[in-house]
Symmetry: C2
Subunit: 197 residues, 2 copies
DNA sequence: CAACAAGTGGACGATAGCCGTCCGTTTAGC
DNA sequence: GCTAAACGGACGGCTATCGTCCACTTGTTG
């Protein structure tokens, strides 16, 4: 579950690496998560190494590229999001399913600057298109179900919905108000009210 | 009106500059507008000079700093926005006033990447705090009026409103959909519906 | 416990992008 | 024509990041 990223990175080692090497990979992954949360996609290799308490050489030797590391962490994260989407699709109440997913989606994007950027950036710096396409497709179905159930207005496409949800996430938009940590909640509520049939 | 930025930049010349010099200032201002629209706040001095068809030396001689130039253009722009806000405050129907302003606000932000960034960036790269504070204060009053008139839900603050409006503007959020030029319209409609009492 | 392969850290050279100055050349205006 | 004003853009300086390389350290195994 949470070791996926590590496994992914250790997979292509020919023989079992030494204990300290494994430990360093773990540290690097944790550091990458933090850096991704706070700094975003363009967290530098040096920053990640510093956070991990590890030399820059170690980073490159262990994970090959800065991008490979970030990619592994992001894939793990997006996987979790996909799971939430599938759970939402199974909900009895279509509208409630959409609400649940939207909440998770926005919360996770809000929690990590890097995840937010990864889901937005259309330029594929890291190759995440496969997973994010899957995610899109889930949203499309969720919106479809909610509309068929008559719970959601039909003059709005799932693309519009994606747009609106993304807009609720804090960015450097906001007219200069320091956003409280949970600021997105009220925004999401308004948007969902606006989407209701 | 539209010559404000130019006047602002020519103001501190001791004696009347030569005709070609004035022409170049105009070109620089127009180029800065374009660059601001397309590239955003960190349009480089060289890019602006290139767009203006002018040497980089000329830019620095004429406008002093890259920042002074951008600032002049942005101030002009924000001035227009303020005017729209004041007009909206005079509307008979408080809700309609809010809707009108919101529309202008979002459209203008959507039209220029640089304006959008300028209104968001809390770090004061260019000193626009005065004008943007004025703008905030207008929005606060618009929201207040709409709520007093019973036209807008009261569990939402003007800060939340600012947040939501900013969110509707295209950014690099959007799950990888190339946004149509007028994409923000539908988003704005949903948000306004959600804000209605 | 020794010896060596595996691993480590971080200085370093390379690359890139932007800033703003400076000076030889051009041009407007009298 | 003549001169002061203006021009263009090459250039040096600065900052940031990347990723390599090698002298040194440490885990592991017999």
């Amino acid at each position: 579950m949470s070791s996926t990223a590590i496994d992914l990175l250790l997979a292509d080692e020919a023989s079992r690496p030494r204990a300290d090497a494994r430990r360093n990979v773990e540290r690097l992954v944790m550091a990458a998560r933090e850096a991704l949360d706070e700094t975003g996609l363009d967290a530098t290799a040096h920053e990640i190494a510093r956070r991990a308490g590890v030399g820059i050489g170690t980073l490159y030797r262990r994970v090959g590229t800065r991008e490979a590391l970030l990619r592994a962490v992001l894939l793990e994260f997006l996987g979790g999001m996909l799971t939430a989407a599938d759970r939402a699709l199974d909900a009895d109440d279509a509208w409630q399913g959409l609400v649940d997913f939207a909440t998770v989606y926005v919360r996770l994007r809000a929690a990590s600057c890097g995840v937010n950027e990864a889901l937005g950036d259309s330029d594929a710096r890291l190759d995440l298109s496969e997973t994010s396409t899957a995610l899109r497709e889930r949203l499309e179905r969720l919106v479809g179900k909610a509309q068929e159930a008559g719970a959601m207005r039909t003059d709005v496409t799932w693309q519009d919905t994606a747009w609106l949800l993304a807009g609720v996430v804090p960015g450097d938009h906001t007219i200069g108000l320091t956003p409280g940590g949970e600021q997105w909640r009220i925004g999401l509520r308004v948007v969902l009210d606006g989407l209701r049939a």
